[in-house]
């Protein structure tokens, strides 16, 4: 009961403190707001880029075309040879009949052309579709498959895919680095802003000490004030995240440049991001206060 009362009063005092020293509070809040906006952009960017990378990686397949003259046993031997290559994740046989049916279903033109071919005449080849466990090794795996007897041709998104993925990973690394650096800088800035707030309240602290407040008694209201500043500072970034990302998502129809590159759906992504922003804001505010008040606790 007593503890609840003290905490309740601390919250009340922290609110009063925020408004009584409004210009300084505003400085702290703006500081947190600006950082959190950049953090939000970085989070959205880096998670989307991460998502693109995964999508691309998942989709990149080596297609190995098999000589149509081979027997079924020979085709099976090829499968064994593929399976022992390092970094091969999955491999799947697609017969030329399946491909033919697929193509005929997807287009009337194909349908009418292929109707006239007999099975022997059909130029379409059986294929193995091979996926690698790491996109980095795709070139090596493709070269090894090409050497196997009975493989006529190997195809994959040479060059373009690797380039795309290394660009993504660069963007990802840079934006994550930016987030970490920004959070550190803000914690430092907040700490200094709150330090000014606190030295303007030096008198209050010395009176508190005089009437018998313990270190905890003195520290807690300021830490709660830091928490409030952090929470207030995260309001605008959260609004921008939720509405901004939803608008962006719907205006791009959920994809960027091509259906291949999909954006992360807003729900629950924006809410999770908002929670992270609130958490960062609160922690940074509390840490800043805690650091700033420390020096005033020595007599």
């Amino acid at each position: 009961m007593k503890t609840f009362r003290i905490i309740g009063r601390n919250f009340r005092d922290a609110f009063k403190g925020v408004f009584r020293n409004f210009s300084l509070s505003l400085a702290s809040i703006s500081c947190i707001t600006i950082t959190l906006i950049v953090v939000a952009i970085s989070i959205i960017l880096s998670y989307n880029v991460n998502n693109f990378t995964e999508l691309v990686e998942k989709d990149v397949t080596i297609v190995a075309f098999i000589d149509n003259d081979l027997t079924e046993e020979e085709i099976d031997t090829i499968k064994d040879e593929i399976s022992v290559i390092d970094h091969v994740d999955t491999y799947e046989f697609t017969s030329k009949d399946d491909i033919t049916t697929d193509m005929r279903e997807s287009s009337d033109v194909f349908d009418s052309v292929m109707k006239n071919w007999s099975d022997e005449e059909n130029p379409i080849q059986n294929t193995y579709q091979v996926k690698v466990d790491d996109i980095e090794y795709i070139e090596g795996v493709a070269k090894q498959i090409e050497k196997i007897d009975g493989i006529t041709l190997v195809k994959y998104g040479e060059g373009i895919v690797e380039q795309l993925i290394s660009t993504f990973s660069l963007i990802h690394t840079i934006s994550l680095g930016a987030v970490v650096a920004l959070i550190l800088v803000t914690a430092f800035l907040i700490s200094n802003t709150i330090k000014i707030t606190i030295s303007s309240r030096q008198r209050e602290i010395s009176i508190m000490r005089l009437i018998g407040a313990s270190n905890l008694n003195i520290r807690i209201p300021f830490i709660i004030e830091g928490l409030l500043l952090g929470a207030l500072g995260s309001i605008i970034p959260i609004i921008i995240t939720i509405y901004g990302y939803e608008t962006l998502y719907s205006s791009f129809n959920g994809q960027l440049f091509s259906p291949f590159i999909k954006l992360i759906p807003p729900t629950p992504f924006v809410y999770l991001t908002s929670l992270v922003l609130l958490g960062i804001g609160i922690l940074v505010g509390m840490f800043g206060s805690w650091r700033a008040v420390r020096k005033h606790l020595k007599i």
Binding site: R5, R203, M208, L210, I211, G212, N217
Partner: protein, 227 residues
């Protein structure tokens, strides 16, 4: 038993100034003691050591059974809760009302609202300021502000009230008003130590008077003997 006992106390500031030396003193429960002496003789230093604003360089200081000199920084609040302190410059929170200034001292300890209200009203009544409960310090006269400071100092019911020139900024008539309040508080059982330069007050009150000179006790007049 004595409330305060100082044994061979010495205080040298880190500037090299020795403010207190060879000081032996005891003050009993319920006493009213004046400390006088010329500027710089160590009066403020002496009382600052009582509430552990300063630490003695040597010797022992016992206040209410606590060895104040050996109290760790983070335990200082323990002695502060037993002592009320009043200063020449009042030290009120300018942005808080009279009520808030006094209640502040109780809220830290988590007392229920009703209990705080009752205590604050009672103590403001005692210092004669109940009607200014909602005023801000800037709206009060110096004497009234000092009464608020006294109310805040005694609202916890401390055993000891220390006043460093509480009437230093006030005219003679207002000062006597403050003295009446302090006398009232003393009669209710609180020990009072008051530093002052106002010899008229000291003469009128007829209390024990300790005269300091260069950090030593020059004279210790028993109650009613200082003329």
């Amino acid at each position: 038993m004595d409330l305060i006992r100082l044994t061979n106390v010495k205080k040298t500031y880190n500037t090299g100034v020795t403010a207190i030396q060879d000081l032996n003193l005891s003050i009993g429960k319920g006493e009213f003691v004046f400390i006088i002496g010329s500027t710089g003789c160590g009066k403020s230093t002496l009382i600052k050591m009582l509430y552990r604003e300063e630490k003695p360089t040597a010797g022992q200081i016992i206040v209410g059974g606590i060895d104040v000199g050996r109290l760790r920084n983070r335990k200082v609040y323990k002695i502060r809760r037993k002592i009320g302190v009043v200063f020449q410059d009042f030290k009120l929170l300018p942005k808080s009302t009279v009520y808030e200034n006094v209640a502040f001292a109780l809220e830290i300890f988590g007392l229920p609202k009703e209990e705080i209200h009752a205590k604050v009203v009672k103590v403001l009544e005692l210092v004669g300021l109940k009607h200014k409960i909602k005023s801000y310090p800037a709206q009060l006269s110096g004497g009234e502000q000092q009464r608020v400071a006294i109310a805040r100092a005694i609202v916890n019911g401390p055993k000891l009230l220390i006043c460093d020139e509480p009437t230093g900024n006030l005219d003679a008539k207002t000062s006597m008003g403050i003295m009446e309040v302090l006398n009232e508080i003393n009669k209710l059982g609180t020990t009072i130590i008051m530093v002052t330069h106002d010899i008229n007050i000291v003469k009128k009150m007829n209390k024990r008077v300790i005269v300091l000179d260069s950090g030593r006790v020059l004279k210790d007049y028993e109650e009613g003997t200082y003329k």
